[in-house]
């Protein structure tokens, strides 16, 4: 068999929760591609299917309830249908929820595209006592209707064949119109003839449809029309105003409302003609309703929610530890391997400390992200996420956010120990752009897993008696700061009225494994692709900042001669013993050898400190001291914080280097803790100031990249770095200055 012929394209449209994604996955399998619609962050999924040796292009449109210009999703779906003119649309509708689903169908038909209806979930409808006469529905609406069960693949072949037939036969155009009552029908005829005479947007839309959009006061079409031909546009607006006044005085209503009434009226009139048979009263409590009685109960609901969120947390952060361990061991092995084959020098240092450590650190997030997305996919596909949004919306909407924001906050470390990267990505579940932006800009304030070692170090060293209390306060500061900042952003730069909440609580459903896996893999792969490339560059840059310029010849010579002096003073047997032991730590050494090894390490550490102090990062740290001293930070802290931009884990290890302690294990930082406690310029007040700074300052660069990707603009990435650092510094200075003035926490 040769290559299949290129056929036309087919779009898949439907309400959210109607099973559209399930059908798309089942049709295309692995042959799908996820991208973005131009200029927006809405995902565009495409794939191919073979029908009798012809390759059909399938585009999965975003799930929408309507084709107004209410959300980005709706505009994207509408523009695609008008501009790309697919040969046919498969409109997937939920058989158990036919009335509202057909509202979109009517609008698709009005756009003039051939539509075939995939009547999905007939099994669920059946179990609810709902039977639908698909033949009658097809005759009455004059569109093909195929009963199906997308989950099992039943009816899949038939719907594709139907779409293929439509695509071949009808050549993209089809007339459909319903009555909107005497007044509107009358003016629509006038509008349509004016539109057609002047070819006003008729290359894209049917004339009557443009008229309807003018009556609906559709912003997108109005501005497009005004741009194209202001004259015609104004005439149409005048017609709309005239009929609006008439409707207001006679029926006390307006065109938009009347249009919706008539659409539902049309649907109702069809369904009433024996299309639907119900065994039970529509008011009967469904299983989903019974579950909701418990799950969203005023008292038990929040407890169950806490339990589920805790479970997600456990799942993500405990189970991902094992594969993260594999990644770490792999990169550790790669590190050792490359170290052993490359000669000492700059190239080795760059590859090992720059590339492998940097990229490895970032790819180390991959299992975490996969587990988190998998967990969220379960909550999302089962319908529970909508309940979380429902229960918490009251709290979040007070701060200009949305019920759906909660997941992003929790994942980022709302309880302590998450990660802002998947957190920022989790903000995708929010459909409202402003609330979404406010969410993804504030979630980095949560205490992610990488900030915890810093907190643990500082709390352990300076607030040892009240550890638990202090950690609790830190969590509260992070939440308070995040919510207040969100509120601040929502009344300043992302100001605007709240997006309507109006949200469906879909019936609970068992997620399919295929759906979950495709969902998870898609998102994870996007992270690897996008983050992977940029991160390589930034890793090298940060390495260079902390390495160059090199120490002067004489400085290097000084450390070398110190080492030489130690060695020449030691007994030959001790040197031989150290040589033989090499890197192997399990070998038992004589006391003299242990002593010598320790002295040599001290010199290495001092050299490390000198290199760091001399590097660009070190110079930055020192020159920033004149500013940072107002918050109580010395140059060593400054370097550590600069390094923290690469990854917050680096803060502790860099502080270690800066205090000449050699490599400090962030998980076990007792020596550093003791050093800080004894250091003259440290006090509990400095520690508190640094804690505040760490909570609020610039997100690590992986998070910044995630913000850029999710917000669709590098400007928001830059904003988060500058705004957060400014906020952090202001708060730290306030804490430190007030504390110093009042003589609090001075140790």
């Amino acid at each position: 068999m040769g290559k299949p012929l290129k056929g036309g394209s087919i779009a898949l449209a439907g309400n959210p929760n109607a099973g559209k994604t399930t059908l798309f996955n089942s049709l295309t399998g692995a042959r799908q591609h996820v991208g973005n619609y131009p200029g927006v962050t809405v995902e565009k999924k495409e794939g191919y299917i073979d029908v009798n040796g012809t390759e059909l292009h399938i585009v999965d449109l975003p799930g929408t309830y309507s084709l107004t210009a209410y959300s980005e999703d709706e505009v994207v779906a509408r523009d695609f249908l008008a501009e790309s003119k697919p040969g046919a649309v498969i409109n997937i509708v939920d058989a158990a929820n036919l009335e509202r689903n057909l509202y979109l169908t009517v609008q698709l038909l009005e756009l003039g595209i051939p539509v075939c209806i995939a009547l999905n979930m007939i099994d669920t409808a059946d179990s609810m006592g709902i039977t639908i006469d698909s033949r009658k529905l097809s005759t009455l609406m004059q569109v093909p209707v195929v009963p199906m069960i997308a989950r099992t693949g039943k009816g899949k072949k038939e719907i594709v064949a139907e779409a293929y037939r439509l695509e071949k036969e009808l050549d993209g155009r089809r007339d459909f119109h319903i009555s909107y009552g005497e007044d509107l029908d009358h003016v629509l005829i006038e509008m349509e003839s004016l539109i057609k005479e002047n070819n006003f947007m008729t290359d894209l839309y049917p004339g009557r449809w443009v008229g309807i959009k003018y009556l609906e006061n559709d912003e997108q079409i109005l501005s497009k029309g005004d741009e194209l031909n202001g004259d015609i546009s104004n005439k149409l607006i005048a017609m709309v105003e005239k009929v609006s006044r008439h409707l207001e005085s006679t029926l006390d209503t307006y065109p938009e409302a009347l249009i919706a009434d008539y659409r539902y009226g049309y649907i109702g009139s069809i369904l009433k003609q024996d299309v639907i048979q119900r065994k039970f009263s529509p008011d009967r409590l469904l299983i989903s309703d019974r579950i909701d009685r418990v799950v969203t109960n005023r008292f038990i609901g929040p407890l169950i929610m806490l339990g589920i969120i805790y479970g997600l947390y456990q799942f993500t952060f405990s189970y991902s530890e094992i594969p993260i361990g594999w990644f770490e061991s792999f990169f550790g092995w790669l590190n050792d391997f490359v170290s052993s084959i490359l000669p000492d020098g700059l190239l080795k240092s760059m590859i090992v400390s720059g590339i492998i450590d940097g990229v490895g650190g970032v790819l180390g997030f991959v299992p975490l992200i996969m587990f988190m997305f998998f967990g969220i996919a379960i909550l999302e596909d089962s319908g529970y996420l909508a309940r979380v949004a429902y229960m918490l919306d009251r709290v979040f909407s007070m701060f200009g956010l949305h019920g759906n924001s909660v997941m992003a906050f929790i994942v980022s470390g709302g309880i302590a120990g998450g990660c802002a990267v998947p957190g920022v990505m989790a903000s995708r579940t929010l459909k409202s752009p402003k609330e979404r932006l406010a969410t993804l800009l504030t979630v980095p304030f949560m205490n992610c897993g990488a900030k915890l070692p810093i907190m643990a170090l500082l709390v352990g060293a300076f607030f040892g008696e009240n550890k638990a209390m202090m950690m609790f306060i830190i969590t509260m500061i992070a939440w308070g700061g995040a919510l207040l900042t969100a509120k601040f952003l929502r009344v300043t730069i992302i100001a605007g009225p709240p997006t309507p909440f109006v949200m469906e609580l879909p019936p609970y459903r068992l997620p399919t494994f295929k759906g979950l896996f495709i969902h998870t893999w898609e998102r994870t792969w996007q992270y690897i692709k996008k983050a992977g490339t940029v991160i390589l560059g930034i890793s090298i840059l940060l390495w260079a900042l902390m390495t160059f310029p090199n120490l002067s010849e004489s400085e290097v010579q000084k450390f070398a001669s110190q080492r030489q002096a130690l060695k020449s003073n030691a007994a030959a047997t001790v040197l031989q013993e150290l040589d033989r032991a090499g890197e192997n730590e399990t070998v038992e050494l004589s006391p003299a050898a242990v002593d010598l090894a320790a002295r040599l390490r001290t010199i290495d550490s001092r050299e490390g400190e000198a290199v760091l102090k001399n590097s660009v990062a070190g110079r930055m740290g020192r020159s920033l001291e004149s500013v940072s001293k107002h918050a109580g930070f010395d140059w060593r802290t400054n370097i550590a914080l600069v390094g923290g931009f690469a990854a917050k884990e680096v803060v502790v290890s860099t502080l270690g280097t800066a205090y000449s302690l050699g490599d400090v294990d962030p998980e076990n930082s007792n020596s550093l803790s003791d050093t800080l406690k004894k250091a003259a310029n440290w006090s509990p007040l400095v520690a508190l100031s640094l804690i505040i700074f760490t909570i609020f300052y610039s997100p690590c660069f992986v998070t910044v990249i995630a913000i850029i990707k999710e917000s669709g603009s590098w400007k928001w990435g830059a904003f988060s770095m500058i705004f957060n650092t400014t906020l952090a510094f202001t708060l730290s200075v306030l804490v430190y200055q007030i504390g110093s003035f009042a003589g609090l926490l001075s140790g």
């Binding site: 309830y65 509202r100 969203t296 229960m391 019920g403 949200m503 609580l505």
Partner: protein
């Protein structure tokens, strides 16, 4: 029969929508979701903080904020 505001309805109470007094984005969204004149609704429940409210309409469950429910008048049995 009396006309009351959707916000004042009690859990499990049923009624018929008589008016939706809002235009623009919110009005469109409400209508898209099936809240039109004449539609039958029943209050399913309220969130733990009493807001939003969940209601059954046209065979599915919809939730909206009290501030959005304010625009909807419902006729209920006495």
């Amino acid at each position: 029969m009396t006309v009351i505001n959707l916000r004042q309805m009690k859990v499990n109470q049923t009624g018929q929508i008589v008016a939706i007094k809002v235009t623009g984005e919110l009005g469109r969204r409400l209508r898209d979701m099936g809240l039109t004149k004449g539609a039958e609704i029943r209050i399913q429940g309220r969130a733990p903080l009493y807001d939003p409210v969940a209601l059954r309409i046209r065979g599915f469950t919809l939730s909206l904020r009290n501030s959005e429910a304010d625009y909807i008048d419902v006729e209920v049995a006495d």
